[in-house]
Symmetry: C2
Subunit: 144 residues, 2 copies
């Protein structure tokens, strides 16, 4: 199955925060308008990003800001923050392969490393892209 839209929405949120931080108070309603989803979805995501140390959210007066420089926030950080899968495992393994069958008994031993290798390649690529990178592209497009 696909990786949830939480991930692309979270990236969208961070780009918004950085783009508008000078000119607007970036509230969950503001973000909800840009992304076009319910404000509660945004608040839930902001909580996850906050727990991961990526953003700060102010109660009462309101508004979200990044908690560290955009160059230090990678897509992998965001993925890990919002993709709440057990131990960050990309692949769902079938639960109870037969221990009587020679193949069933060994399937984990022969597959686990390969799956990690694949997931590792994906994560390496995610780690190589920062919010700053995407901000640079965004600025260029907006200025045009």
């Amino acid at each position: 199955m696909q990786i949830s839209s939480r991930f692309t929405i979270a990236v969208h949120i961070l780009i918004c925060i950085e783009t508008f931080k000078e000119d607007y108070k970036v509230t969950s309603d503001f973000l909800a308008s840009s992304v076009n989803v319910n404000a509660v979805v945004i608040r839930r995501l902001l909580q996850q990003l906050k727990r991961a140390g990526i953003v700060d959210v102010k109660r009462g007066s309101g508004g979200a800001v990044t908690a560290k420089p955009p160059g230090e926030i990678t897509l992998l950080d965001i993925y890990n923050a919002v993709e709440c899968v057990e131990e960050g495992k990309l692949f769902h393994f079938h639960e109870n392969p037969s221990q009587e069958c020679p193949v069933g008994k060994n399937i984990h031993a022969v597959l686990d490393d390969r799956l990690e290798q694949i997931q590792g390649a994906m994560e390496r690529e995610m780690k190589s892209i920062s919010i700053q990178d995407i901000m640079n592209d965004t600025k260029k497009l907006i200025e045009k």
Copy 2:
């Protein structure tokens, strides 16, 4: 969300077919026992693998065999065969970003390439691993 267990089950199936092809008729019931899921789940997967040209399944008399050498069946082939997502896209994009917002309007333009880059890294790694590779490891473990 995670990639469905259809993927690991499909790999398990193929390893079973190759491991037992000399000694048993590998039926959906046989495979269901090793994987420990319902036989219909196996049959559905075998159909998907068949449509992708990976296995042949015999009606009536029964049994499944690989349709090409295991060295030519990669994990990417299997992934594409069973992970029935629209256009094979790994990431689910939020549907309707606001066209009024400068960020919403451009979010696809700035993200699509990056997402493809990540997915590409994953697929490259999947393509580098064949059923033969996994068979080699499996044989070693079984013989021990």
